[in-house]
Amino acid sequence: MSAILPPRGTLASEGGRAASLAAAAFVFRLQSAGISFGTRHALREVTLAIAPGEVVALVGANGSGKSTLLRLLHGLLQPTAGQLLVDEAARQAMLFQRPFMLRTSARNNVALALWLRGTPWADAKTLALVALQRVGLAGQAAQPARTLSGGQQQRMALARAWALRPDVLLLDEPTASLDPHAKREVEQLIAEFSVGQGRARPVTLVFASHNLGQVKRLASRVIYIEQGRVQADLPVREFFDAGRLQAVSPAAHLFVKGELV
């Protein structure tokens, strides 16, 4: 049940298709994948696999390729080199740093996401209210979405993602523009989300973040990216073990040191 997204303008090779069958235990598998915008290489030679239930943090400096990798996994970008294999049975949703809200109520904004995925409008409205309740915004359901505070908007976006019941949630610096209080609230909801209570499939989370404390609290695995290349890919405990990280990637070690100072 996997799909191969070949490099733009080329067909997936037979070898790639065979690999997709073997990749059933993975939500994503990248094989030497790259993305170029003209002469600029945003991602180069990325090879990694993400299994169901993993909570993966992408860290790196601004412009390192974290967001590009998230967009690639979500299908918003196509690889220009290498291969991406995606488990098509896994429903995806993505949360952006600044969530877009249509000029209508919070409830309609959540309902619209469901409607776009085929839920009848009346049912979508009901489910939207349940989702807003879950993030503590039932009282603001009728409020125009753009009048919500930054933290409330991000919670509304989480409700929108949660309503879709995704198996994979991709988050692009979801708390970067929030104040500490709102940051904690959203982070708590993300943590609850990752537990995936009452679900048959475990929820996979892939998030980009600059906040190493948050990475430590949420992630089970950390991928460090620099200039479009994966420099370190370690379980969270090893990533924050200075000696181990220094041995794997001095650049990643320097980055972590710099961020922690």
Binding site: R71, H74, L76, A93, M94, F96, R98, P99, F100, M101, L102, R103, T104, L112, A113, L116, R117, P144, A145, R146, T147, L148, R160
Partner: protein, 247 residues
């Protein structure tokens, strides 16, 4: 008394006395331009919204042609419509020439590129900003056009206003296809042209002031509506297009 002061006084006098001839001319101007604007904007909004979101081979060429059409002189549009509607033209049987429908058609064609190009700009900016998130939610090209058009509805009011301004202020097209017939196809701009050629400058200027007043009132109304709705619904991440930006 200077010509301007005299004109302002004449304008006020004409308005105060509810001069029937003036009211007919102003009413006809509003009727022709509003009809033309409604037709052109109905098509231009759809076309512009789609162009703002869709990506296809030859899009750049289409946009270049569209932007070129923005500069088409109104007399050229008038001439084309005249040829279409003249007795020997392909639409001659309609019998529209020197009548209200001919003026509406000419102004519609004149305004269509304006409505399309400005809508395209607004929607393309919105698509650049938010299209990715709408795609992430599962919206295809058509739905994104619709959703962004609806979301940018207050910014698009400015497009409506600019289109109406272009229609009501043009003279060449309505002069050619309408013929400036007294009491029948005379509108504010053709009346101004006529009074100027007759040497009645105060009356011509008075009509000009009335034209400005009509546009000013409409602009003010739309600006108030936008501000009120944005205050109620939140300004947020909407794309705005100001008349100044169009100038």
């Amino acid at each position: 008394m200077s010509t301007f002061t005299e004109s302002a006084a004449t304008a006020l006098q004409l308005i105060a006395s509810l001069d029937p001839e003036l009211l007919t001319i102003v009413g006809r101007s509003l009727g022709v331009s509003a009809s033309a604007c409604a037709m052109a904007c109905a098509l231009g909004l759809v076309l512009g919204a789609w162009l703002g979101v869709a990506r296809f081979a030859g899009r750049d060429a289409v946009l270049t042609v569209l932007n070129t059409l923005l500069a088409v002189p109104s007399v050229v549009v008038g001439l084309v419509v005249y040829l279409l509607l003249s007795r020997s033209g392909p639409l001659g049987d309609l019998g529209w020439l020197f009548d209200f429908p001919a003026m509406v058609l000419a102004q519609s064609l004149l305004v269509l590129p304006v409505a399309t190009a400005l809508t395209r700009q607004v929607i393309e900016d919105a698509e650049r900003e938010h299209g990715e998130q709408l795609r992430s939610l599962g919206a295809g090209t058509g739905l994104r056009s619709l959703l962004l058009t609806w979301d940018e509805r207050y910014a698009l009011l400015t497009v409506l206003m600019a289109s109406f301004g272009r229609a009501i202020s043009e003279v060449g097209a309505v002069m050619i296809v309408g013929g400036n017939i007294d009491g029948f196809t005379r509108v504010i701009t053709t009346a101004i042209a006529l009074e100027t050629s007759k040497g009645d400058l105060p009356l011509a200027l008075a009509l000009g002031l009335i034209l400005l007043g009509v546009v000013l009132l409409l602009n003010a109304g739309i600006a108030l509506l936008r501000r009120w709705r944005e205050r109620v619904e939140g300004r947020g991440q909407g794309i705005s297009l100001s008349v100044e930006a169009l100038a």
